[in-house]
Symmetry: C2
Subunit: 435 residues, 2 copies
């Protein structure tokens, strides 16, 4: 399917923020707004070509996005020299490029990509367009400025900014038949040049359908404060379901602070994984020193590595770079990191205590850590149905090491790790057996 993105406006309310760039090129967590729209469309897997209507500073947008090669999509541009007039004119400009039903989106509306997947499944029969509608808007929606819709079951009867009565809000995502151009042209010929004017024409003859997005996320980025809000929400949405207690309460809030900086760099998620791994190697070397001072530094680095271990996934999710390989690579590196940390602890303990016991406990701890990770995936599957709150994972193991080093208890910490991790692996064997 073809998708049209309207990126022609000036975005005057954002003028301070965007300085000399057009609004679609405004950065939000490392990606421009229009890049987020493009990558969301790519994620749907249903869009073959993206047509971008440019106007205000169109050359800058073209230069930034190119033919779409770097996003793995096909992008073509249509220029609208009349961008100062209503945005209905921008839509009509693409008429000759359109081959069938198409998606229509705004460059400054960020959204959960599944909304698009669902709206394309809507049947058009009897309708000329479907509009994504939010009937339960979040508290950050600027009600005064938003476009409202009046509904009769799933039919939109009225659409506009100044409706007295309304049941929902226009999310700026449309599925259109090519007939939409006729209505827009008719409205424009009557001096009503906005997209909403054209849609009101369709609504008034009962041919505009509403698609209720339910609880899904979307935001119209119109002001500096909504940009802030979008940043907050996107960060909030990337926590992992499998996060343990330490991750959720301690690591995740801190890693998100790091991530806000990391997304602005060119660091890939995999290089962040490597960085976290390197920190663990360094921590192991500090443990080897054996003195309280070095051990505490090692402990702090371990906890830092544990926090940074969340950033690779966060950056991947925020920058549309999630890959199966990335998750696997990170997990495998984590196992090696565990080995270095535990080996460092054993060697540190040996500075003050000889014999084979520290080595044996090192073996016990490494076996427990490995089998914990090894058994976790399957255990999580079953755990979902049980809604447990506590999950013992790497976050907890590293936090125990961190605490243990603060109290200069390297050996006791190693023994505790060995006992706890193996207890958990054996317990999982036992618990699942009964399921």
């Amino acid at each position: 399917m073809q998708a049209v993105i309207i990126a022609s406006g000036e975005g005057r309310r954002m003028s301070q923020k965007r300085k000399d760039s057009p609004k679609p090129l405004l950065k939000l967590l490392g990606l421009t707004l229009i890049e987020r729209v493009i990558l969301s469309l790519k994620q749907t897997g249903v869009v073959e070509e993206i047509l971008i209507v440019v106007g205000y500073q169109g050359e800058k947008i073209k230069k930034a996005l190119g033919g779409g090669e770097k996003y793995g999509v096909k992008i073509n541009y249509i220029e609208n020299p009349y961008w100062r007039r209503g945005n209905g004119i921008s839509v009509v400009r693409v008429k000759n490029q359109i081959k069938g039903n198409f998606l229509l989106l705004m460059a400054d509306h960020i959204f959960e990509y599944t909304i698009v997947n669902e709206i394309v499944r809507e049947e058009l029969n009897g309708y000329d367009a479907v509009l994504a509608v939010d009937t339960t808007p979040a508290e950050y929606l600027d009600v005064n400025d938003a476009t409202k819709v009046k509904l009769e079951s799933d039919k939109i009867t009225q659409i506009g900014k100044h409706l007295e009565e309304y049941e929902g809000f226009d999310c700026g995502i449309f599925l259109c038949s090519p007939k939409v151009f006729d209505y827009l042209q008719e409205a424009i010929s009557q001096g009503k040049e906005s997209l909403t004017d054209g849609m009101q024409k369709i609504a008034s003859i009962g041919r505009l359908k509403a698609f209720d997005i339910g609880e899904k996320f979307w935001i119209d980025i119109d002001t500096p404060s909504t940009l802030q809000e979008a940043q907050r929400i996107l960060c909030h949405r990337i926590g992992k379901e499998s996060d343990g207690f330490i991750s959720r309460r301690l690591n995740r809030p801190i890693s998100l602070i790091f991530t806000r900086y990391l997304v602005k760099t060119n660091l890939t998620p995999n290089s962040i994984s490597l960085l976290s791994f390197a920190l663990c190697v360094v921590a192991g070397m500090f443990f080897m020193g054996g003195s309280y001072f070095l051990i505490v530094i090692g402990g702090i680095i371990t906890q830092l590595a544990s926090i940074l271990d969340g950033c690779d996934g966060e950056v991947a999710r925020l920058k549309f770079k999630v890959s199966e390989y990335g998750g696997w690579f990170d997990a495998l590196l984590d196992r090696y990191a565990d080995a270095f940390v535990i080996l460092g602890m054993v060697l540190g303990i040996l500075k003050s205590k000889g014999g084979i016991s520290p080595w044996i406990w090192g073996f016990v701890a490494i076996s427990g850590s490995f089998t914990n990770s090894y058994s976790a995936a399957k255990y999580d599957l079953i755990r979902k149905f049980k809604k447990r709150k506590w999950r013992f994972g790497r976050d907890t193991r590293y936090f125990i090491i961190f605490l243990g080093t603060l109290f200069n208890q390297l050996y006791f910490t190693l023994i505790s790790l060995g006992v706890i991790t193996n207890f958990i692996s054996l317990r999982r064997m036992w618990v699942l057996r009964k399921d």
Copy 2:
């Protein structure tokens, strides 16, 4: 759907083998023939009730199978006192219990359960029954004794043992509409009492459909030699696709010999996993001894454990006891077994060589072994497309240990293990990166 199993005949050609049991209770790799039919039907997930027609020594069959509770299916019995006459009479006996279309199977026909899943998807419109037909029979089929079918595209025009021209063979699996009873009764009233006679009636009016099973497995167990053949084929079919070179060429052939005995015992697959684990612990203890004699014994036990590690899965597959938990439990135990074996090796090496190097190499080897297993699942997924023949897994690791101990090279073996396993894990990270 209801399924009818005909288990009323005497099976005279098997009389020597079965002694004083009826043929359906003949054992094949730890399960009776009729148990295999019942468990295959259960595996299809489409059978709600099994009706078994008993005759010759019916009480023994009823006593052996009960109400089906132990198989997780519902079994009811219908008695046919006229079992000495044609088997068409046995089918007609169930008429009053049948509520709609039903499956009809023979107690002495072993088959791949997916044949049933596919035959129930066949449309009956215009037909009164569908028969599973084998047009490319295996070399072990006794052509003289088999029931043949003559085909016209997917219509069976003739069915019988003595056809001159034929295109396929009757596999003994039918999907029937209740109309089948009328044809059978008509045939019986004319003195033609076999099921084949009744089916010929349906075929002659063009209402018997053929379902070609393709390459799928089935066998009619009619003679002691076909029983032998079935045993050979079932064992051959349970090798795992992910088997490495050592598994395929060395371990699997030996483990199958063990398995033929193990299936006859009450040992569950999970207890076989535990047994293999226990052997590894014992092997580790022998390694700790450090002398050549003890090390060689340890090495032999290690290799034995590696072979036995295949038996749990084999027994599970042969006895319809495959479970997700079983595979997970076995894998987790294997990781602990690896830890015990490597720890034993380190302690054995320390008998003749002090210092921390053996310990460090122990850490390296355990990390490599763990990460090999940890990364294998994902690697296998991608490997499938590449059709590699060699897969480095636990079978190879244990074979290296076995060889190393024969040459009294415990330390060199540990170092080799460490180097090879970690090289492989790093290589996987690298190879997949490029995919």
